[in-house]
Symmetry: C2
Subunit: 322 residues, 2 copies
């Protein structure tokens, strides 16, 4: 099941979230900034993060208006980090659409990202919850610190603990925030909030592992970038780690261990080896364990369309395009 | 009187603000990030913005702990905007100390600025005031939009309305926030809060006008950059506007009106003309009017050391180094 049925119960509210996002640049702001924001919002993906916000909040009875603000805040935060990340990576396309930095100066791109951060913070404040705001700011710091660590740390082979820390900063933390913050807007006990935090954390971790698997098994057309591009950039993700553990004497593994990931021909051989190895299934099993924990966190919660959609979403995350 | 007597009543609390700022990068964060933050905090200026926060808050009875958080939040926000501005301008020195971007890659500088924004937002949330958070986020958006407008707009001669809008975004808005947000933490009526907003707004506007005057009359050693550097970059500030109004037929004014600010030799002549013209006194008078309005906003507020210091601060702003 790789369908997006989980979207159905919140489709109307997703439009409201997008409307709220677009409203963040208005006649007070520079016309070019408004155009850039519209471009970025139109280029958006499936809105998985606001969907989590809305499903959890609706299931637990959050006030709709504050929930829309939260969904918009989290998607804006996500958008702002993508703007700065694409600038830093020099990426020209995202989801097949030209990035802001491919068309604008670095200076304008930095400031547009800053503006979107500012509007994300304003939207977070519009939840009227100090607790949400604190978690929101903390998550932003975790994400940025993760990006900095990835930039400063020498390329090389790290262990799985290091990998999990990195993908938590990159993806897990924002999914965790989406689910947890939605629960913070509801009149429910700390145990339910903790379960929702766990749900978000686990689907977020599964999401990134699957992304990292797709980087090996996907094709260029679907990925919008060459297969194995993580490894070609010296970034060792879970499938590579499993392969390395099982094949320490592969000459290409030895080369990678020496930091020679710039040897493209040899790294392409390694990518092929990983692609056809047990490491893919092992990584999928690992993602599956996170999904299982996410589903366990939903046990005892009220049954209904939202809970069903949250389950569907957890399944979708590990089954998409694989 | 160009002394900093206004600092005396809050000196101890300023240390607490700086400590709180330094604590924003801890063992969870990358060591290079901690080093960068310490460098930036050590290179800090007179802490005028947190001083406003502390004086206003102490005068009106704000809870000290939340006041320290607010002071740190505002100084962190100021620091983050400087990091990105210096990157965008390619500035190598600030206050005679190497900028982050002069030593780090653009990517690391962008992310360090982002991290400081994140910590500023977290500190703002620690005031436990949703109203403060909303104003905080709005001010950040105003500042970034102002930077973007300055970047996108064609260089040229604009009128004073445009100039005031620009310096409000650049400086006035953050002083306004410092003073207003401190009052929002106090158990006082909306009239007092409005007065404090006005106080902050007016000293902020005066502050920037005096900065713009100093750019003409200061010497390179004090400024840390060549005199007239605004005009050499095509930025027409208040002294230039007054001079242009009085001398429309000056050939160098005509050249500037044609957008030829890259003609350095002729612009240096124009800078000399402005420097020795009535425009300097007119601009100072203008700053003095803002100061007068700031002092008026303090009328009827409780007399005591804090009010005296706020008055001293208003005087200091227009009398420094002129």
């Amino acid at each position: 099941m790789s369908t997006t049925t989980f979207l159905t119960p919140v489709q109307e509210q997703i439009y409201l979230v997008e409307e709220r996002m677009r409203a963040q640049a208005n006649e007070e702001h520079h016309p070019d900034l408004r155009a850039a924001l519209n471009h970025l919002i139109s280029a958006g993906g499936k809105r998985v993060r606001p969907t989590v916000v809305l499903l959890v909040g609706n299931m637990l009875g959050a006030p709709p208006e504050r929930l829309i603000a939260l969904g918009a805040a989290i998607e804006m935060l996500h958008t702002a980090t993508l703007v700065h990340d694409d600038l830093i990576d020099g990426a020209l396309l995202r989801r097949g659409i030209p990035t802001l930095n491919s068309q604008w100066s670095p200076a304008a791109t930095v400031l547009t990202g800053d503006f979107i951060f500012a509007r994300a913070a304003k939207l977070a404040a519009e939840t009227d919850s100090v607790a949400v705001m604190k978690h929101f700011a903390e998550t932003l710091a975790i994400m940025v610190n993760g990006e900095l660590a990835q930039m400063f740390d020498a390329r090389g082979i790290y262990d799985r603990t290091h990998y999990y820390k990195r993908i938590y900063a990159k993806t897990g933390s924002l999914f965790e925030l989406a689910s947890h913050a939605a629960a913070l807007l509801c009149d429910v006990g700390t145990d339910v909030r903790e379960r929702m935090r766990q749900y978000g954390y686990n689907i977020g971790m599964a999401f990134q592992i699957v992304d990292d698997i797709l980087d090996f098994v996907g094709d260029t057309a679907t990925l919008g970038k060459p297969a194995g591009s993580d490894l070609l950039n010296g970034l060792v993700t879970l499938p590579a780690l499993y392969y390395i553990e099982a094949n320490p004497d592969d000459p290409n593994v030895r080369l990678l261990a020496k930091g020679e990931y710039h040897n493209t021909a040899r790294m392409k051989e390694l990518i092929e080896s990983i692609r056809h190895s047990e490491a893919i299934r092992q990584s999928l099993d690992e993602a599956g364990q996170f999904t299982r924990r996410a589903l366990e966190a939903l046990a005892d919660l009220p049954t209904g369309v939202e809970r069903q959609a949250l389950e569907d979403l957890a399944h979708y995350i590990i089954e998409r395009h694989v």
